[in-house]
Symmetry: C2
Subunit: 380 residues, 2 copies
């Protein structure tokens, strides 16, 4: 099941509430990414402590490992990974697409689906809209994403033309119908989202959306952004598309992005975000703070007794771990560095969304955005 | 300060209580190793939760990174690494010794001390008993270890002769006096332990001990075991030496060992142990359980819904994480695998010592040892 209610709006920005099989999600929300059934370096209990409401799993990766037999035995992903709140899974489309080389070789896309070799054991595999739905049903995802082709921004330097983007978008649209049919065969009570494609072309985005709206899905996502395009193209397509997504249904901007991107996305009317950036950057010593980003390896932090972010209440900052200590752990390659950094960055993202929700509740979203930009520009 | 009280004994085994500047330590005790100011992969809060009473730091490593300037600024290691309970630091002797190649080249040992090149930046450095005491004073370690030469079992295949072991032991004994002198110059209230050397030779162990007892130190350690010698040599020297250490002072067996070694050590009269085995093995998917050891990578665990150890109350076992899930995380190289495995293994070691203390309190240590051996032999 999925119910969604828009509680209040300011401009395009929306404050909402979504109810799923495994719980309630207050929006706008950031969803930590747990590719292989674990948000990298973070205990499920720590995710709960920092207020995570819903996390992602990756259909493609979980299909490869541990495999469907194990996930079926556990009755889905929740019990396997010890997470009892909602889970969203992607469709596997992006991963199958990423498997190819930059010139597109290494996997073969046809009307039927995508043929590729398992990166784990070389087995020849065939991913189709139907297979994606079956896997996500086994995972028992609260939110199931349609199988789509992620239209690339460029392929080996060749920027995707409008004709190419149209063909790709139309294929995703046909796959969406097959997903709906296969999804309907199951008895599960989860929610299937459609994904708007169309590359950098507004008219194609409109066409894609129109065909998906016909399917009357419980939620809609914008795919194919943050795939290498210039920032201004991303913002142009975002601001064109997001406000046109059905107003009474949740809107999800896939794979985006920086803290600035999230604020921009909310301003454009987006309700849901996911991105590997907080955890991936954490593992590279790149920390997000209210006053800009901080690179742990910088020797200026060698003897800095302060916390990562004096305004942060995460386990790292409130726990009294100093920048000097984290700098030291990072230099020594100690696991505790990515552990604390991942907790901090995820807490930063989740707290940013909490502050956005509070600002929307209080009717002061514009003032929040101005303060956010001023704070981030200040520098650590 | 250090006060030590033997509460009860059974055979050679002792149940004791040690009071240090940063708290009380119930013995026999296992001390998790935090080489670079972090027990690898484990939050300080998790260490407290699992009942760790005292942890180790490595003088040599901390001297290299973060360096004495930073540690001095933080007033010692406790505040830097966010651990407010007792800390024991080794002297750096073992590490300086390990720096050399297997033929002994790469560092130069003289009466004065050890010349070597920094493994971090190549700087020529000189470690002496005085320098070791000064560093450990900066660290503000509750228990300071004397600077010694760890007599090798063999050097490039040549087994250390009695003459070589005597020369090495005598050097460590002279260094002990210099440590006492330098230690006395400080105003710190911590405790300096002597280290009994002498290789595999009982008479040399006796000589070493006699010279250290003259110094009337607050505690005594057995060094130079678990350095590659056959197990029967280790046990022979342990059972010869441990009962001769002053009865009213804490006895510490350095760098040992397996769960079986710990039980054996307690039987021989040892009060304190440290070893990297629980954390290092955890990172290799080697888990300790009541019923024997478990190798996570074994495919027999692929769909095993049970916990690592059904009798364990650690965050991994009580948290409901299955062997199948841990096997999956391990296969995928996910950080959560060593995180949960490290928590489990340390909990296993700390709980083993807790059970030993309870058995000694209840006057049933022999029965405990018999049950321990039967359980461990049962197999997982």
């Amino acid at each position: 099941m999925l119910t969604f209610e828009v509680l209040t709006t300011q401009g395009q920005a929306r404050r909402g509430r979504m109810t799923l099989n495994h719980g309630v999600v207050e929006t706008p929300i950031f969803m930590p990414v747990g590719t292989y059934g674990t948000v990298k370096g973070v205990m499920p209990s720590a995710l709960e402590d920092m207020g995570a409401q819903i996390i992602l799993g990756n259909t493609f990766h979980l299909w490869m490992r541990p495999g469907l037999d194990v996930l079926e035995q556990f009755g889905g992903l929740h019990r396997f990974e010890r997470w009892n709140k909602p889970i969203l899974t992607d469709s596997g489309g992006f991963q199958v697409w990423s498997l190819g080389n930059s010139d597109g070789s290494g996997r073969k896309i046809s009307e039927e689906g995508v043929k590729f070799s398992s990166p784990v054991n070389g087995d020849k595999l065939f991913m189709t809209p139907e297979v994606s739905m079956q896997i996500q049903r086994t995972l028992n995802s609260d939110i199931v994403m349609q199988f789509d082709e992620c239209t690339p921004y460029d392929t080996a330097g060749h920027i995707t033309t409008e004709d190419e983007a149209r063909r790709s978008m139309a294929l995703s649209a046909r796959w969406a119908r097959r997903c709906v049919d296969e999804f309907a065969r199951g008895e599960n009570l989860n929610a299937l989202f459609g994904i708007v494609q169309g590359g950098m072309f507004e008219s194609l985005r409109d066409e894609s959306l129109a065909s998906l709206v016909e399917l009357d899905l419980p939620g809609y996502a914008i795919g194919g952004l943050s795939v290498g395009e210039p920032k201004e193209d991303m913002l142009r397509v975002l601001h064109h598309t997001a406000p046109k997504l059905p107003a009474h249904k949740p809107r999800y901007l896939m794979g985006v992005g920086t803290p600035e991107d999230l604020v921009e996305g909310v301003s454009a009317g987006i309700d849901m975000f996911d991105c590997v950036m907080p955890t991936r950057n954490a593992r590279n010593g790149h920390l997000f703070t209210r006053f800009g980003d901080l690179r742990l390896r910088n020797s200026r932090y060698k003897s800095d007794e302060g916390p990562i972010d004096p305004t942060c209440s995460c386990q790292a900052c409130a726990g009294g771990f100093s920048r000097a200590y984290l700098h030291h752990l990072e230099r020594c390659g100690e696991m505790l560095a990515p552990m604390l950094a991942s907790i901090h960055n995820l807490h930063y993202y989740l707290n940013l969304m909490r502050e956005i929700r509070d600002a929307l509740d209080a009717g002061r979203f514009d003032a929040f955005v101005a303060q956010f930009k001023a704070d981030r520009a200040r520098g650590v």
